[in-house]
Amino acid sequence: MHLTANVGLSRVNLITAVRALSPSHVTLVINDGVPPLDPVGFGVLMGVETSSITMLKVPDPNEDLPGCVEAIHRHFGGRQRGESDVCLLSAGTNAMSTTLHLAFGGRPASIHRDGSIVLMAWGNERERRIDAVRLTVEEICSAHGISMVGDGAAVTLVFENGPLIPMPFASITNQAKNRLHIEWHLDEAEEGAFYHRYTVMSAIHSVATHCGSNLFSHLYSGSDSRIQPLLDASARIKERAA
């Protein structure tokens, strides 16, 4: 089976889909608008040999949609697909995922809201659902190029070639559906509340910038009324160009 997929900011869906479907070859289409991806480390997480991964770099569809479409067709054009090949549609813009499917063919697959992988009805095949495996916090961090130092109520996230994000008031767990659940332990009464709020804002924005906002859910149970708007705002951050 050959699986193709666009790569967005959040990479968890891609890993769970590949683990669930076990393709023999994976083609990843990554555009200039998202952070780069290390095929070696990512291959390990997906459980696929590096030699079985093909990376295709295309222009950012928000900047150059015709160029992006052209690049995808140029790469896949004219090749015959096997009946078992799968095209994962759940990442990238509508135009990009549609183009990928038009160029590559294969059975369309997507990720349901409950996290399961959906192989859609196609030809004579009926719809099929596969439960996603649950990833560890370390695996999710690793997929996004993050190392986590410390545990309990004080962690530091270290990004590859990027910022070091101290989260002194946070503990991180893996919720259901492979979302990272960050619980903030910060109280207004503490001294240096402004600095603490700043730290929270900084951490939220950094992780969202690198990994997309859908990967995280934030919980705050303290009494600082200014924290909650920050967390609400973080939930609104959508994918953005790097």
Binding site: V69, A95, H205, S206, P229
Partner: protein, 559 residues
């Protein structure tokens, strides 16, 4: 006839119309993600507007179906996936060899063919739909600000004002029968003799129109709303700045864009309540509403626990006349009563870029409001929602402020936070406005003091058939007092007066003043107030009454 199929998750009328426009479609089938009867009220209304637009303006044969019914395009049709959902695409793509699959670029003006077989990948870009179409389709209300030409001297005046942003605005002092308006700024140690006529201020309601007769061939004017303590609204500065911004960005400027409420009456009522609450210092509003209503609009909010019969009569009076108030102030109330509003919008074609203005410290709440509006006015993709926050805030801790604003901009991609005078003004292309060197123009601008000479007194109120004599009398006395204060050049004190009460005690005239007002009057103008009340009572033939000043809580507008 080729049919264009659009897969629609949420109803975004302008995006849908733009896609149709880019395709030059004559027939369109909308595939709704949910049955029509399950759409929320806003979406249903938006779809209705879209259908009206297609039938009446664009002459497009439109069919709306629910995608669950599985209606497939016929060979030769076009499927545009710009707005759709991937699950539905997949079903459509089964027949993709027979249909043309397209998507529009980010500007929604160019169609890109996604099929492999198509020779030409891109169609020619079309002009975007007009601004009027945009506003009509998205049901947005706005005030246009296109009357003023860019004025270099006005800009110079503006730059003069900017230096007082950190300071109290005008300092007012009596000088030779006039009032000296000083600019409390360090002008390189230079002073100019007091009383020198440099500029004329015409008081027009709560607005003050400053004109500078001795400057150049074309005297500049600035209209400054003077809300309290000689301050000014940043929005009024924008009256001067807006044409220059428009000129600089080759755009049109809309003021006070309003996202409307779904019910008209609710919007009007919210608008009136907000105006009464937010602008108690505006005598024009008080007079206008009072004239139509027959009594002081604040009275109803203030005097609920008074005489039951009068309360009842007043309530009936309110019910009877409120529609007339709505009709009289309709435009202003519609502008105030919307779900959301934004101060300034830069319109380029159908694209609307909201700009929020703050003269206090901007907060995350302001940013959230701005970006919420930006999502309403933004075209399509959340990644490309843009909004600008312009402010005149000077932080004590510059580094912390910069960190905070950087954080906001990172949290909301597309947000730009800029200081009006430090960041916005220097980047506007004003050099080419009239060929004059802007630096030179600024230097010949009067820099030290302006004399304020009130030239226009407020018009006397007329009362058409008041329903309640006593309320009319209260209103009359109130305005006599206000007029008197105006004549004494303490017009700005009127904002503290909540109302006149003749009902509570037949021997007294009770003047309700809020707490801040009491302090101010005691410090500066109590003698003016007492004199004004006595004169008003003489005029109204109520000399027997004793004047009592009562400190009252400023009433909240009813919800």
């Amino acid at each position: 006839m080729t049919t264009l199929h659009l897969l629609v998750g949420r109803i975004h009328t302008f995006a849908m119309a733009s896609i149709l426009h880019a395709h030059g479609a004559t027939a369109c089938m909308i595939h709704l993600a949910w049955p029509r009867e399950d759409l929320d009220k806003d979406s249903a209304a938006a779809l209705q507007r879209f259908e009206t637009y297609c039938s009446e303006e664009a002459s497009i044969d439109l069919t709306v179906v629910t995608q669950a019914k599985g209606i497939r395009p016929t060979p030769g049709d076009v499927v545009d996936v710009t707005l759709g959902a991937t699950f539905v695409h997949a079903a459509f793509l089964e027949s993709s060899t027979q249909v043309t699959v397209t998507a529009c670029d980010i500007g929604l003006t160019r169609v890109v063919h996604l099929n492999a077989e198509v020779g030409t990948r891109t169609t020619l870009a079309v002009d975007p739909l007009s601004l009027e179409t945009r506003l009509s389709l998205d049901n947005l209300q706005y005030g246009v600000n296109e009357s003023t030409e860019p004025d270099l001297l006005a800009l110079a005046a503006l730059q003069l004002l900017l230096q007082r942003v950190e300071q109290p605005c005008f300092a007012l002092r009596d000088v030779n029968g006039g009032v000296l308006v000083t600019l409390d700024t360090p002008w390189s140690g230079r002073t100019v003799g007091k009383g020198t006529l440099r500029a004329v201020v015409e008081a027009d309601g709560s607005n003050r129109i400053l004109s500078f007769p001795n400057v150049g061939r074309r005297p500049p004017t600035l209209t400054i709303h003077d809300p309290h303590d000689g301050g000014f609204w940043l929005e009024d500065i924008m009256n001067v700045l807006a044409p220059i911004v428009a000129h600089s960005y080759s755009a049109r400027i809309l003021r006070n864009l309003v996202i409307p409420h779904e019910h008209l009456d609710v919007q009007l009522e919210r608008g009136l309540n907000r105006m009464l609450q937010q602008r108690p210092n505006d005598p024009d509003l008080r007079r206008t509403v009072g004239r139509v209503l027959g009594h002081d609009p604040w009275h109803r909010l203030r005097n609920q626990s008074g005489n039951a019969a009068v309360d009842d009569a007043m309530q009936r009076n309110w019910t009877r006349n409120i529609q007339s108030v709505y009709n009289t102030l309709r435009e202003a109330l519609m502008a105030k009563g919307g779900r959301n509003e934004i101060d300034l919008v830069l319109a380029q074609g159908g694209s609307l870029l909201p700009i929020e203005l703050k003269d206090k410290r901007p907060t995350l709440g302001d940013v959230q409001k701005l970006m919420a509006v930006a999502r309403s006015t933004g075209k399509l993709r959340p990644t490309h929602v843009r909004g600008w926050l312009w402010h005149t805030f000077r932080p004590d801790d510059r580094e912390a402020w910069e960190q905070e604003t950087t954080m906001w901009m990172n949290m909301y991609p597309g947000l730009k936070v800029e200081h009006v005078f430090d960041d916005v003004l220097p980047n506007l292309s004003i050099q080419a406005l009239n060929g004059e060197n802007p630096k030179k123009a600024r230097w010949r601008f009067p820099r030290n003091a302006w004399d304020l000479v009130p030239q226009k007194l407020p018009a006397t109120l007329e009362f058409p058939c008041p329903p309640l004599d006593i309320l009319r009398q209260e209103m009359e006395i109130l305005h006599l007092v206000l007029d008197d204060l105006h004549r004494e050049n303490v017009t700005h004190f009127h904002q503290f007066i909540l109302g006149v009460d003749l009902l509570s005690n037949s021997d007294e005239l009770v003047l309700d003043i809020d707490e801040l007002g009491m302090r101010k009057f005691k410090s500066f103008a109590m003698e003016y107030l007492e004199l004004a009340c006595e004169r008003a009572m003489r005029t109204a033939a109520l000399e027997g009454r004793r004047v009592t000043v009562n400190v009252a809580l400023r009433p909240e507008a009813s919800s």
